[in-house]
């Protein structure tokens, strides 16, 4: 990103934040000043969790700046760093695990409540030390649609949900969920999970977050033939899952029972001929207002469902038509260019950039996310090398690159 942009951003931010020193007419500085974030997030803010740095970091897609971090978990446990955001943006809830001696000793699991503006911990709610540990941790926690109850997925390998009332700051129940895993929000008092036989399990709570009612649906996907991934996205009352073979399975959570929509394919015969497959660690993104679905695609054999994607295919959810095929920026090039401070605005810079593009194979990106405003940006991320590129979500054009986004990016979130 050109330095000018950073400075502009710095000034822009300076206006927004409480303690920024006025740059034009400097006045004496004081030791102790700490930045506070504005009341509500800017449209292009996003978070990225990092398994190695044990944190989730807030970035501004417009300036490329990192705005703050929240630490979670200790070196040995707490792989899954999955922040959920209160609807009013006042609070952030994160399920965390700690050992008293880093990788050993006594284990403690908690849900920590963080202030949305100061990012400081406000409260800590103890939960059973049974949180599921998996990578990268999609669908590990969920907040009920009214923002009151948080569900945390446990696996020991027995599976269950821990329910927390984030308003009263209390742990209300642990719900055994035999054979079913992960957790998705499905109304003010309901969550659902995916089961190994292709069914869904709904968990309904009473007003106090207790008396859990557990119901198993009929199977709605084929777990052996063509399993769906847990890397789903939600648009309004509809969750969208994708299968290994690229079939979308919609799940409507508006009614008293889950309603399973007609599955539809992302791929035609030509695509399948070309061995195009869905892959990556966070391979679906949706822009609710425009009804655009973004899918991370690569060319590979069967069972390459974790392979990074070299293209993002965009679909219109209204008619299931493919609108665009966007190729992703080579994260290796982005990484090297930023590290060696190659300035694409100069002739030599654009030349060496071009040379890098030509010489380095594109390993692809692992995750995508889209912001929900009227002029959304598409964020594409890679862990090795660490890279995040910001794109116009409508045209796919790259707007900027974010340098040093972390060491081991796992999941991205929009507040």
């Amino acid at each position: 990103m050109p330095r000018a942009a950073i400075i502009a951003a710095a000034i822009a931010l300076a206006a927004a934040i409480s303690v920024a020193p006025a740059r034009a007419e400097p006045e004496p500085e004081t030791v102790g000043a700490v930045v506070t974030l504005p009341e509500s997030p800017a449209p292009h803010w996003f978070w990225q969790s990092d398994t190695l740095l044990k944190r989730t970091a807030l970035f501004d897609g417009d300036s490329g700046r990192m705005l703050g971090t929240i630490n979670s978990g200790s070196a040995g446990v707490g792989f899954v760093i999955f922040p959920v955001f209160s609807p009013d943006h006042r609070e952030i809830y994160i399920a965390e695990s700690y050992y008293s001696r880093g990788v050993r000793g006594d284990r403690t699991d908690v849900v920590t409540v963080y202030d949305g503006r100061s990012l400081a911990p406000l409260a800590e709610i103890g939960i059973p030390p049974r949180r599921a540990e998996y990578f990268p941790g999609n669908a590990a926690s969920a907040l009920s649609d009214d923002g009151r109850f948080m569900a945390v997925f446990n696996l020991t390998p027995l599976t269950s949900l821990s329910i927390v009332d984030v308003k009263s700051r209390t742990f209300t129940a642990e719900v055994p969920t035999p054979g079913c895993s992960l957790v998705f929000a499905a109304g003010p008092r309901r969550f659902f999970m995916l089961c190994a036989n292709g069914a869904a399990l709904t968990v309904s709570l009473d007003e106090a977050g207790g008396a859990p009612k557990v119901e198993r649906t009929a199977p709605f996907f084929k777990p052996i033939e063509d399993p769906i991934t847990e890397k789903a996205v939600r648009r309004g009352n509809e969750w969208l899952f994708v299968s290994f073979a690229g079939v979308i399975h919609p799940v409507d959570v508006s009614g008293p029972q889950l309603a399973f929509g007609e599955p539809w394919p992302l791929l035609d015969d030509a695509d399948r001929q070309g061995n195009w497959r869905v892959g990556g660690l966070q391979h679906l993104a949706v822009h609710s207002a425009s009804g655009r679905l973004y899918v991370l695609m690569h060319q590979g054999g069967p069972d390459t469902h974790k392979d990074p994607g070299t293209e993002v295919w965009v679909y219109d959810l209204a008619n299931h038509r493919r609108l665009q095929q966007l190729s992703v920026v080579n994260p290796l090039v982005s990484f090297i260019a930023l590290q060696s401070a190659i300035d694409p605005s100069t002739t030599s810079g654009s030349l060496s950039r071009w040379a890098l593009e030509k010489s380095l194979p594109n390993p692809g990106v692992e995750r995508i996310v889209v912001t929900q405003d009227a002029n959304p940006v598409l964020l594409a991320g890679s862990s090795m090398p660490p890279s995040i590129t910001v794109h116009d979500a409508m045209t796919g054009e790259m707007l900027r690159e974010i340098s040093e986004p972390g060491l081991a990016g796992t999941l991205m979130f929009t507040p």
């Binding site: 040995g76 446990v77 990578f135 990268p136 054979g179 895993s181 190994a196 036989n197 033939e225 847990e230």
Partner: protein, 184 residues
């Protein structure tokens, strides 16, 4: 589909047998087994009975294999067909033993890999070595036959440090625990 079913069935049985034999945590495993069944439409042999039978086979010799699939420090090593983690061979252990200071998890995920030498399919137990932070050497992610988290016994996203003093995962081994006989 039916075939696939039977495969899964067979792997899970053998997996459960091995696990039962290798660990004293019967109760944990009984429950684990039960839970896996919970979500499946097929029964799993009672762990107690399975534990009485012995199906151990020696691993095939890797002598004469090319480096690519004969070197346990390579991601392409034949046993690694469904591994996801850091190779213990690069972390102070071997393809079948944990590094010093770690503890091997008795619970595991199961895969089946073909030995390039004798062409037979072997059942591989991918056990995590637990009690230290990520090894960060020889990361290897292979997903042949791998399934999402809800299909627990076939998933390699999970940290399989269960029944160990610490849930911290360091690296993963690939232990040969049986031969997968073709469906008749």
């Amino acid at each position: 589909m039916t075939d696939a079913r039977r495969w899964i069935d067979r792997w899970m049985e053998r997996g459960a047998r091995q696990l039962a034999r290798r660990t004293s945590r019967r109760s944990l495993l009984a429950r684990a087994g039960a839970i896996m069944v919970g979500g499946m439409t097929l029964p799993l042999l009672p762990v107690a009975r399975a534990a009485t039978d012995d199906g151990r086979v020696p691993p095939p010799s890797d002598d004469g294999l090319p480096t690519a699939n004969g070197d346990p420090t390579q991601c392409s090593y034949w046993r690694h067909c469904a591994i996801d983690g850091f190779l213990c061979s690069c972390c102070g252990g071997t393809q079948a033993a944990c590094p010093p200071g770690t503890e091997m998890s008795p619970v595991t995920w199961i895969g089946t890999c073909r030995h390039p030498g004798d062409g037979r399919d072997y059942i591989i137990s991918y056990n995590d070595c637990c009690g230290a932070s990520l090894c960060m050497r020889c990361k290897c992610t292979r997903t042949e036959g791998e399934r999402p988290v809800y299909h627990t016994s076939k998933n390699n996203d999970l940290l399989w440090c269960f029944g160990t003093k610490s849930r911290a995962v360091h690296c993963s081994v690939a232990v040969v625990i049986g031969v997968a006989t073709k469906p008749t």
